[in-house]
């Protein structure tokens, strides 16, 4: 099991935060272009899912898998989007993403008067706490290959 990367978007599509752990491949486009592409893809998937669905959805899109990785998605009611890419053996990690939102983002960004909302997060504290939390997760490999 392993965690590749985490994207945090606000509801306007700005990438507030990006970090990676064991990511092996980087796409051939610039970082900010990649954020736009990721946000665009998620936005489209949400609209696609809502339209193609035969029933009414509550949470909507949860995750997708390719033959190499899994993308987990969690959206708060306020439109904040947390996207974590992991390998395929990782199960449902909605609660992990929720924890990142409620315990780390809320604690160290929203309650930090120095962090301006809607701007990329530069807080060192947030970064350390997040890194600590993710590395402590059971889905994070103890031995990094």
């Amino acid at each position: 099991m392993t965690v590749y990367s985490l994207y945090v978007f606000d509801r306007t599509g700005t990438c507030l935060y990006y970090t990676e752990w064991n990511r092996k491949k980087h796409s051939d486009i610039a970082r900010d272009e990649e954020f736009k592409l990721m946000y665009g893809m998620i936005y489209s998937i949400k609209s696609f899912v809502n339209r193609i669905s035969p029933t009414d959805l509550k949470d909507g899109f949860l995750n997708f898998k390719t033959n190499r990785y899994k993308l987990n998605f969690y959206e708060t009611a306020s439109g904040m989007k947390f996207i974590m890419t992991t390998d395929l053996t990782v199960g449902n990690i909605r609660d992990v993403l929720h924890q990142i939102y409620s315990n780390i983002y809320l604690e160290y960004v929203v309650r930090n008067p120095l962090c301006e909302l809607g701007q990329p997060i530069s807080s060192e504290l947030f970064h350390t706490k997040l890194d600590e939390y993710v590395r402590g997760l059971p889905i994070f490999p103890t031995r990094i290959s």
């Binding site: 990367s5 035969p54 029933t55 509550k58 909507g60 898998k65 990785y69 890419t85």
Partner: protein, 218 residues
């Protein structure tokens, strides 16, 4: 429960086949007295609920029928009257309205198919690992979508209940049916929509078999 619908997309992203197996789209019917508690608005020439969820009628549902007469877009199927006008006039009350999830038109399905074709490609491009395929399984709380891309680039897509098992096998079986009853039909031209009765019946058969087996496993 079971398999909701299947799509087949050619290598250029064009929809060549679509079939709805179970259409258990939620519907709600209710008789209203004047004034109407719901707020309705027009979206793409359809009448959509904008406010006032009640009795199974949800925001986003479209108006399907007025007093038992089905609607074609915003107009009555029988005499082409504008349903918005009927609802606005107090003398037409009490009135019976039927709401439900919007049915997809063929054009919308074609659009969704090509949309998935692009999402599939982006999913592969954004991969954090090398040599990733595109989206193979996509899960939501109401359904899951499973996609199988053949080596020649044709995509078979099944939309099923999240708990349905054996979809993988069904996709392979669909590929066999496609090669047996579409490709071996001399009147079928490649990459074009599949219109063939034998294909239809055989596809339905494999879907039903897989549904029975899948649910047995749950």
């Amino acid at each position: 429960m079971g398999i909701f619908s299947v799509y087949i997309i050619n290598k250029a992203g064009g929809l060549i086949y679509q079939y709805d197996h179970i259409s258990q789209r939620p519907e709600a019917e209710k008789t209203f007295s004047y004034p109407l508690e719901l707020v309705l608005k027009l979206v793409d020439d359809k009448i959509v609920v904008a406010f006032g969820e009640r009795d199974g009628i949800k925001v986003g549902h479209t108006l399907l029928a007025v007093n038992g007469i089905s609607l074609e877009g915003r107009y009555l199927q029988t005499d082409g009257q504008d349903a918005m006008e009927i609802i606005a006039a107090p003398e037409n009350y009490p009135i019976n309205l039927k709401f439900g999830r919007t049915r997809l038109t063929t054009n919308e399905r074609i659009m969704l198919a090509s949309m998935f074709h692009s999402l599939f490609a982006i999913g592969s491009q954004l991969s954090p690992e090398h040599h990733s395929s595109g989206i193979e399984v996509l899960e939501t709380d109401g359904f899951k979508l499973q996609c199988y891309q053949t080596m020649t680039g044709i995509k078979f897509i099944v939309i099923a209940d999240p708990k349905q098992t054996g979809v993988e096998v069904l996709l392979r079986k669909m590929y066999e049916v496609y090669s047996d009853f579409a490709l071996k039909n001399p009147f079928y031209s490649l990459d074009m929509p599949i219109r063939c009765d034998l294909f239809d019946t055989n596809l339905q058969q494999v879907i039903e078999t897989s549904e029975r087996q899948g649910i047995g496993n749950v």
